[in-house]
């Protein structure tokens, strides 16, 4: 096994092109578990922690360009107000030690259906910036990034450079169900965004389908009802039953399985509850902001 430690982004992309068998390692909070338990023996480890570009974030053309290697701890400290949904998700990840190392790039690389950043990224319409030495940069909407259970759209010579996320026009929420508060992989999770500027609704379902996914019909339903009721302008109270119906439609978008963390039925139930609450909390916040 080799240990590759590029110090620039160009070197990292060249190394990945030359060694498609190299496994990138950022915070190592997924990779090192697999190494320690002999579940994975790649030809090489490609350490990305020396590439300083990956650890930076900046506002670029009105969007946050979040380097793939920015840790959850820094998202919480530095971007809590700018990326509220993602920061809420970040606060629920693992423990302080895990948040000090773990990155959104690593969450996307692992592409676990239970990864906590995914519902927030889906709800916020994030875009994944992917690069290779041969073909340069391509942008993939996050909904197209997840291609199967723990599979993603990366080619063997590609790395994730950054995640592009527009700062929110309206309130965002993130809810997660687990057996306790700390150190839990989600039994189910839900991300929600009110895009008040576009009068649309963003959703993201975690841990309740083979991949993270949106509840597209539920989002269109809620946005349409808000439109029909003139509520986007009036910021009036949600009509009786609307949030409940939204929760049902979110539930219908999921396709969970029974596993050690919970049953499919429990996941469906919790999703409908989380979606109802998230929509209500976000709408109430929107009304208060008037």
């Amino acid at each position: 096994m080799d240990f590759l430690a590029p110090s620039t982004w160009a070197e990292a992309l060249a190394a990945k092109a030359e060694r498609p068998d190299a496994l990138p390692v950022a915070g190592g909070t997924d990779v090192m578990v697999e190494m320690n338990f002999d579940h994975r023996r790649p030809g090489a480890l490609l350490d990305l922690t020396r590439v300083s570009d990956l650890r930076e974030w900046a506002l670029v053309d009105g969007r946050v360009r979040l380097g793939a290697g920015v840790t959850y701890a820094r998202i919480i400290d530095e971007l809590g107000a700018t990326l509220p949904g993602l920061a809420m998700a970040a606060r629920t990840v693992g423990s302080p030690q895990i948040r000090n190392r773990g990155t959104v790039g690593g969450n996307l690389g692992a592409a676990s259906p239970a990864g906590d950043s995914h519902p927030a990224l889906l709800a916020a319409d994030a875009v994944v910036e992917i690069s290779s030495a041969a073909r340069g940069t391509r942008l993939v909407p996050v909904a197209d990034f997840y291609t199967g259970v723990k599979r993603n759209a990366l080619e063997p010579d590609e790395l994730i450079a950054a995640i592009l996320i527009a700062p929110p026009a309206g309130p965002q929420q993130f809810c997660k169900i687990g057996t306790r508060n700390a150190m839990v992989i989600a039994v189910s999770a839900f991300g929600f965004a009110l895009h008040t500027d576009r009068r649309s609704v963003g959703t993201g379902i975690g841990s309740a389908a083979p991949t993270p996914r949106r509840a597209t019909d539920a989002a269109a339903f809620l946005a349409g009802e808000l439109e029909a009721g003139g509520l986007w302008e009036s910021r009036g109270a949600l009509p009786e039953g609307l949030a409940v119906e939204f929760g049902r439609k979110v539930r219908d978008a999921a396709a969970p399985i029974d596993d050690v963390r919970g049953t499919a039925a429990y996941r469906l139930h919790t999703l409908s509850v989380m979606a109802r609450r998230a929509a209500t909390w976000a709408w109430d916040e929107h009304r208060r902001a008037a």
Partner: protein, 152 residues
């Protein structure tokens, strides 16, 4: 491969480091620093917590090669010539140590908490120690120790 790093203020080198091995393994088995404990090797228990460039991390989840050229502080580095760190003294005085396996990790996490927040509330203490498990004490004495260390 060979790695060079600073541990507890001193330069260290290790040869024949396997490319996939953890910083925890390198500290314990190659550098003669067995203070950091290996209990789960999957980031759950926190008994391997060390400072890496000033930030508490699970050393079992850091590849040894990622620590090349970096600064590590382990539990062995908390005490100085004047004796134990106030956090260590408080753990002893409060009876927060039983089998002691979790203690090195709790000490580093508590040390970091008090450096950032000298008078934490109870919920802040619980949050800061959420990545450290103890199967002996029931945590009450550990909370007492953190409160005592915060006052000293």
């Amino acid at each position: 491969m060979r790695i060079e790093l600073t541990v507890n203020g001193a330069r260290h080198e290790a040869d024949d480091v396997w490319e996939g091995e953890s910083l925890l393994y390198a500290l314990r088995e190659r550098l003669g620093l067995p203070g950091s404990k290996n209990a789960c090797e999957q980031g759950e228990c926190g008994s391997c917590t060390v400072y890496l460039d000033g930030v508490p991390v699970c050393s079992c989840l850091v590849a040894a090669g990622q620590a090349q050229g970096r600064e590590v502080t382990t539990v062995e580095g908390l005490a100085d010539d004047d004796g134990l760190d106030p956090v260590q003294r408080a753990f002893v005085e409060c009876g927060a140590v039983q089998c002691g396996f979790c203690t090195p990790g709790f000490l580093v996490s508590t040390h970091d908490l008090l450096a950032r927040n000298p008078s934490p509330s109870d919920p802040e203490i619980r949050e800061a120690l959420a990545g450290n498990l103890c199967r002996c004490t029931g945590y009450e004495k550990i909370l007492d120790a953190v409160r005592m260390a915060a006052q000293s």
